[in-house]
Amino acid sequence: MTVLCLVELDGDGAADASLRALTFARDLAGGADLAAVLFGAAAEVPAQALAEYGVTSAYVTGPGRLAGYAPLAWARVLAGLAEQTGASAVLAAGTDHGHEVMAHLGALTGHPVAANCVSAAPAGDGDWRLVRQRWAGLLLEDAVLSAPVALLTVATDTVPPQPAASPASLAVHVHEPDLAEEDLAVGATETAGQAGGASLATARVVVGGGRGVGGPDGFAALEELAALLGGVVGVSRVVTSEGWRPHSQQVGQTGTKITPELYLACGISGAIQHIAGCASAKHIIAVNKDPGAPILAHAEYAVIGDLHQVIPALVAAIRDRGGGAAR
């Protein structure tokens, strides 16, 4: 019995979300084979990371006919490998690609798909006991899955990436799937855009701005601070629905879920839809005029005050400090 896990590549290595999915898949495999499925050149396979995460086999497809992302084709590959390996479960990270590919796999196989799982375990009789997120993680659903193969996506903000106790010995297989023309009918042409969403999802520091920023002009100071801290700016839903900032910067249930080291929430009251997007930040600091704002119940530290005064002062202080160190 093998557990298959789709591993997405991001830059030079495996995507953070995929490492989390691998961690989850390894637990689920419970000592059985953990196989990674990748799309790209064999040379791009992050073999060391996969081994560290306990992957025993890696199946890498492409680039040949599969030059870019093609969800149906990817699903077809997973279906074939699942059959070939006799997989008991196929997993992917709960990313846009992960969800899309798994949905196709569900449709191809006719099996159910459980999205955004935070835990899973066999429950006998081929059933699985699952906990999965609903409401973008604001609620948890306890569920039972009955299916010949468990098709799961793994919540991107809950299971931490955790290498295996000891690295596995990894065998890399170059996989050459048999794909039909229609499998490739829908494929992505990529353009290097400056959407910002990705850096937001993976940024180490996010400086958040909400209604308290007051208008589109108020974000300059936040941008300056974010740049100083090597981070990016994220915003609440009201900011995008007011048209002050693009939707790609929205943190929350219907925007991006972030997992930074630090989330500095400025002038954000903390509606739960927003909390759904930032609750996985390691540390939250709130800057808010209102000591009763709900965000304070989620923050570790708070500064009570007007962000228009606090942030410029903070920027100045950090600059002074940097200057002092240089001298």
């Binding site: 846009d96 899309e100 569900g106 449709a107 609620l139 569920a143 850096s199 249930q253 909390i275 708070a302």
Partner: protein, 255 residues
Amino acid sequence: MEILVCVKRVPMVGGTIVVTADGQDVDTKMSGFAMSPHEECAVEEAIRLTERLGGRVSVLTLGPPAAAEQLRDALALGAGRAVLLATDGREWGPIATTAAIVAEARRQADAGQGYDLLLLGNEAADTGDYQVGVRVAHALGWPVVTGIKGIETDGGTVRARREYRGREELFEFALPAVITVKEGINLPRYPSLPGRLRAKRAVIEEHEPQWQPEGLRKQGLRVPEGERKRANVLGTGPDAVPALVGVLAELGVLP
């Protein structure tokens, strides 16, 4: 262009979601209902497309009779036709939902009014299954993309865009097709008063699809245990900045 938008009635929740005593549902005693945010954008996108290219927007929901409210909301915005797939209120899984939507699409095709485009939200706000659009496309044998934030079409082919990991992904395919969209694709309009009154008068088509059990079965819902913190207040106003800088240094995020 005939467009069908599938929307779902979901509770409007606040800062805390309350689960009913039996742990089976969200307590909606004092909450209102709305269509999922992504679907509001889907309705808006469909209306914009037909405003440009002509045609008609149909809106469909699968839900209890009260879900007619969400259909009327869409009608008020400019949808021309509404279909209620009435349920007895129990939760439908993605596979049963897919079958119900497909049946509607086939019904229209058989009547010679087949859809050119089906729009759905990327995922429902409540169940978050992320799959109905794809399953529907498979059943109809149509191309599908999800999570779309930009649509251009001439009525024959579609260019659909989305962002992924800082890059833009562009898909091109022919209609008919299924597209699921995400909030941010547009800023939905508000209903006008005349629109709202038209919606009130509109007749809603009703069908009763057959429920079926699925392999993924809900046992119960619960609120994740999160520690309610009380933030350590570093100070008030700019006077707090030195303490704040200290904390940032401790966290190792300073340059």
